[in-house]
Symmetry: C2
């Protein structure tokens, strides 16, 4: 049943981790007034795996998207106002957003110094794909 050629892989436009991250950030954004919120509460509210979500929250904190405080009453909160956090920032903090590093004509098709035409055209396309993510803030998604 594994790796059936008829069942294509899932293209993670967002990886599972990034999806968790966005959900968590949105939850924190909607509850911004309440200050710090514990990872377990977020996980329960989203129905996400608690341990893994906690790890993702830590990662977001380390990348400066969230702030975190340990100990009783501690938890996580947005490091900046929701208007100042783009969807792209969240995704990039968690996954390494990588448009294909190598030329689309193949590794041997062109070199970076003297890129082929398809190279430039592909870069332009990836920019157009990523831009909406950069232009959309958490506040936009939450709707404030």
């Amino acid at each position: 049943m594994r790796n059936r050629i008829n069942t294509p892989a899932r293209l993670p436009l967002l990886s599972q981790t990034a999806e968790h991250a966005l959900r968590a950030i949105l939850y924190l954004g909607r509850n911004q007034g309440r200050g710090l919120i514990a990872a377990t509460e977020v996980a329960e509210a989203l129905g996400a795996p608690p341990n893994y979500l906690a790890k993702t929250l830590r990662l977001l904190a380390r990348k400066g998207v969230l702030r975190s405080v340990r100990g009783p009453g501690g938890g996580f909160a947005l490091a900046r106002p929701a208007t100042a956090i783009s969807a792209a920032a969240v995704v990039e903090a968690v996954d390494e957003v990588s448009a294909p590093a190598n030329c689309l004509l193949g590794n041997r098709g062109c070199d970076p110094q003297n890129p082929c035409e398809a190279h430039a055209r592909w870069e332009e396309l990836t920019r157009r794909v990523l831009r909406p993510m950069e232009d959309t803030s958490i506040a936009d998604l939450v709707g404030e």
Copy 2:
């Protein structure tokens, strides 16, 4: 060394398989005049793993993006003119393009019948992300 929390996962804006597929399609597009081209030639030209690429080409053929012929002189070629194949079509043939099925507010945040506001906003965003892929043809990328 595995799963270090400091080394974020790669976000496959394109999965590896989709990347191979696009490269292969572009190669076939540029060599359209030559008729059928063997999988081994494509793999060598791109520096891609031959066996896996062959499997991906077969998948593209089954999905109707490529046509294939067996036996000596056989190989693969575009099933339609390069202007009639979108980048999105290639990616979708290989990976299951799936925006998050569940609401961004969390599985328990809203139900499909009565979707929340973030739900609609997220759908709008994913549309904007995918559109450039749909609007760009293989011919556009190759530059004809």
